[in-house]
């Protein structure tokens, strides 16, 4: 009798119920991304603004001479705005997953397993969303906690209690918009590089077009074509920042909702095991 039978054996063990495949996909995607040193460095770098803001809060809480640095609602709004660069880079770094799967014909493998298309999409969306929340929501909330810890009182928090839902809402909206957009683009191509270029194009080209059209027509309403500017309008409103938005808040919210909806529609159309060319 061989010490270890290397032939095929029937399996008599347990099988997991359906519905957990999204977690397996998400976990594997996450670990695969973390194998790249450059991605880990990016994640670490994305927390440098948090360190800087933490020092600012510490100094303003500890030394009266620099009280002008004390945190306000604007501080947290500005922090999330600064994190926009890292949101962009992390989105680009993680966003090509479906394109990779399409290039390797992996979709038909995934969808021949006991999982639904929705589970697959959630499995691909979850790591992007988790990392984006990790560079927006998590440091912003920790900054709020640092503020409480360094000041030794909850006075700031009780005066600005809206900051918790504001940080949550803005971080979630920004992350969901970025993640859905990049995954939708990813489902349209077999090239990760092309997806990155398209995404950068959507972000920067639309912003540039807005500025050009604004200069030509004098109307700020053209901001509606720029997702970044629409996100700023919504964020300012949520953080109660006094400003003159180029379009009403509900228009900005509508543009963001439409972008997310279109992204989901594209994913629903393109994430299929068999590509049918009419």
């Amino acid at each position: 009798m061989p010490i270890h039978d290397q032939g095929y054996r029937r399996y008599g063990g347990k099988r997991a119920p359906h519905g957990r495949a999204w977690w397996i996909i998400a976990r594997t995607h996450m670990f695969a991304a973390l194998k790249f040193k450059s991605f880990i460095i990016l994640l670490l770098a994305s927390w440098l603004p948090f360190v800087a803001r933490g020092v600012q809060i510490y100094l303003s809480s500890s030394f009266q001479q620099v009280a002008m640095l004390a945190a306000t609602a604007q501080t947290f709004r500005d922090f999330l705005d600064q994190q926009g660069l890292f949101v962009f880079l992390v989105t680009i770094a993680l966003g090509g997953a479906i394109a990779d799967d399409r290039r390797a014909n992996a979709l038909q493998l995934y969808l021949s397993k006991p999982l639904t298309r929705t589970e697959y999409i959630i499995g691909r969306l979850a790591p992007v969303l988790a990392c984006l929340l990790g560079v927006t929501f998590l440091p912003a909330i920790l900054l709020l906690l640092l503020q409480v810890a360094f000041s030794g009182s909850t006075a700031f928090l009780s005066q600005n209690v809206f900051l918790v839902p504001a940080i949550t809402l803005v971080s979630l909206t920004q992350s969901l918009l970025s993640a859905c957009t990049i995954l939708a683009l990813s489902s349209l191509s077999k090239s990760r590089r092309f997806v990155s270029v398209m995404y950068a194009g959507i972000i920067f080209f639309t912003a540039a077009m807005y500025q050009v059209l604004r200069a030509i027509t004098g109307s700020r309403a053209w901001a509606a074509i720029s997702p970044g500017d629409m996100m700023d309008v919504v964020a300012d409103a949520v953080f109660r920042i006094r400003s003159t938005p180029p379009v009403p808040v509900f228009v900005a919210a509508l543009v963001i909702a439409v972008l997310i909806a279109v992204s989901i529609w594209i994913l629903e159309r393109k994430v299929r095991p068999v590509e049918i060319v009419a």
């Binding site: 119920p17 493998l109 095991p273 049918i276």
Partner: protein, 305 residues
């Protein structure tokens, strides 16, 4: 004999083209070959049964479960080896197969253990830590088989499993498939346009042509008793002679190298063929009783000349 797959009036359309037309078929347990020329609808049939392609009309049952109602339960009990290259990028073989096992419902530790075992079984034991991107075509075929086997399915769908393999690799793959079906107790449906592959590995065959079922049954039964097929080569007007054979009630189709295979449906045998040749004044250069092959079944079924 129980059926593992049953189809009833299944119609599938890609845009304006019908890929399956009113297909009604039953695949018995064991090893079944799904045979047909390229474009016959074999892959579409498999994808429909897997729930990857939705039929316009018709009902399908796999392992007693309705495809439209229980696709996930069905997919957890079947393994699918696709025709085209397919893998998960940037993974080594053992991670890839274990990942497939997990996706199919195995616990993580069991999936990893079975991944190692299955990779040894398909002959990739020594190469299991290499990334799949570095694999040769033959190795990619083997890894596709491994990922289909890892969760120990009750039914395997193998879509052109020997595509792109060298003769030695092809023989080894066919041996594996035969072993899976005949010694390991798995049911399998082998889709191929290569008749020898199906004949070697399978007991039953379903022949498809132009989106329909041309014929189906046990291979031995379809081939019929031996001694009624003759290989024949003549000198003369072969087209006219084929016409004569057909008008005499014999079936005939040409193969490579000017050899025609003639089906004599009764006991008239070789003397009758000589008699016809003599009447038509053609020389018989070669005449040999032959064993009916799956190629004959296929040729008869799809009406090749």
């Amino acid at each position: 004999m129980t059926s593992v797959v049953e189809l009833e009036s299944v119609n599938v359309r890609y845009a304006k083209n019908w890929a399956l037309r009113d297909v009604t078929a039953s695949f018995p347990s064991g090893a079944v070959g799904l045979l047909g020329p390229n474009g016959a609808g074999k892959s579409t049939l498999i994808k429909s049964v897997l729930g990857l392609v939705a039929p316009e009309r018709g009902q399908m049952r796999v392992l007693g479960l309705d495809v439209s109602r229980s696709p996930l339960q069905i997919r957890s009990r079947i393994g699918y080896m696709p025709e085209s290259d397919a893998h998960f990028p940037q993974m080594n073989a053992v991670s890839f197969v274990a990942y497939c096992g997990e996706l199919s419902g195995l616990p993580r530790a069991d999936a990893m253990q079975r991944a190692h075992e299955v990779l040894y079984y398909v002959g990739l034991g020594e190469a299991r830590y290499r990334t799949i991107d570095q694999y040769s075509t033959g190795m990619k075929q083997r890894i596709k088989l491994a990922q289909a086997l890892v969760h120990d399915p009750d039914l395997l769908f193998l879509d052109e499993p020997t595509n792109g393999m060298d003769p030695k690799g092809r023989d080894e793959m066919l041996e594996l498939i035969r072993d899976i079906a005949h010694n390991k107790g798995l049911n399998l449906i082998l889709s191929s346009h290569l008749l020898p592959d199906v004949e070697f590995a399978c007991d039953h065959v379903v022949v498809m042509d132009k989106g329909t079922i041309a014929t189906a049954g046990p291979i031995e039964g379809l081939k019929g008793p031996g001694g009624r097929v003759f290989e024949m080569r003549i000198k003369g007007d072969s087209d006219r002679f084929v016409g004569v054979l057909r008008s005499a009630g014999l079936e005939c189709h040409a193969t490579d190298e000017d050899i025609m295979r003639v089906f004599v449906p009764d006991d008239r045998g070789a003397p009758f063929l000589f008699q016809l040749a003599s009447q038509e004044q053609v020389q018989v250069r070669h005449l040999r009783a032959s064993v009916p092959t799956l190629e004959d079944v296929f040729a008869k079924a799809v009406g090749e000349k």
